[in-house]
Symmetry: C2
Subunit: 188 residues, 2 copies
DNA sequence: TGTATATATGTACATATTTACATATATTTG
DNA sequence: CAAATATATGTAAATATGTACATATATACA
């Protein structure tokens, strides 16, 4: 049971999910490939933390829909109060920014503009996901009812939006600075 | 040559550094242990990207001070325009927040208050590092002179502060929500 | 005096993560 | 019609990362 395994149990508190769905939903919080997730699910199934039912689909491949067992919930409850690991953040772009003094100005601008597009897409996506949670969830959150299903998703989305907007603002600020010096072509 | 190796080359654009110093300075952007960094430096030394001079110290163990070679600078310049990897963010705390509906309210509050302390410490540390860069760097940044040594460090610190402040605000907001419901003791 | 921390470098081993290979079906795109 | 993409699950192998061990010196703390 590593951190990702507990993360999968955490996702399953929202209800039954296939391995494929778990892989998709965990990406914003914890990047992992399916090749890492499937073996962990198989292990947790052996240990009795999760169970699955095979579901046949027309027009799509069959899937295994996993759900939490009582033992899985117990494992989750034991994990939460344990010391929480420090956040891991690794961003190649920031390493490139570190040596910006050695970079062609045009390449520097491209680095930041690429990221601006990325953050804008993410912000839009997260807003759509917020909308999908519905007004009932909004009311539960505003009332501080953390037991409400959707409370966790809502506050995590708010955080993700805040982070992306902060980074987007930063990119805009830097691009503004870079444009003060017309080294190279200002137009593309 | 993996991403971390290029990152070490990027740090060395600021001037000669020991492996130990590189390990310390790269932490905010890319977490890595010394056990990963020392072998990479040895490899890059073999390949001629960096060179070192042994420096004897009184009161402290001897060290190897690495610096960039022309080949190292060339490698750096080839790396920058290559496609940039997506940022990797893994935070156990967010996984715990995801299943906040299954958590004891007191544990939830603790989770956020711990993080608030962490972010406050980081913000203070980053502000001290900004101050250490001096007013000359501030002027260079405000003039958009990206070739100035310190431009990269300055804008990276500004970003780190923005991110930490965004997260701190988020934690405060959530703690405020949790206090709306007096489940359990409000005082410690 | 034993224990911890900081400086400083290194290796060995275990674990985590990514990439590549494998398979099957339906849809979209060129 | 061929190629890519999305759904869906899995394994094998390579790489990246973390933990533990190893050594040496100085300082702080109990």
């Amino acid at each position: 049971m590593n951190t990702l395994s507990y993360g999968l149990l955490a996702l399953l508190t929202r209800g039954p999910r296939s391995g494929y769905e778990l892989m998709q939903h965990i990406q914003p919080i914890w990047q992992a490939k399916h090749s890492q997730i499937y073996p962990l699910l198989a292990l947790m199934e052996k240990r009795g933390f999760v169970q699955y039912v095979p579901v046949a689909q027309k027009d799509k491949p069959d899937k295994k829909v996993y759900s939490l067992t009582d033992e899985g919930i117990a494992a989750l409850r034991e994990w939460v109060p344990e010391p929480t690991g420090d956040p891991v953040k690794r961003d190649e772009m920031l390493l490139k920014v570190y040596c910006i003094g050695f970079i062609e100005p045009a390449q520097a601008r491209q680095l930041f503009e690429e990221r601006m597009r990325m953050y804008q897409c993410k912000i839009e996506k997260y807003h759509r996901m917020l909308d999908d949670l519905g007004s009932e969830t909004v009311q539960a959150v505003e009332a501080g009812r953390m037991e409400h299903p959707g409370f966790g998703s809502y506050i995590l989305l708010k955080r993700a939006i805040g982070q992306a907007e902060s980074d987007l603002d930063w990119c805009r600020w830097v691009v503004g600075l870079l444009q003060l010096n017309p080294t190279g072509s200002v137009g593309n």
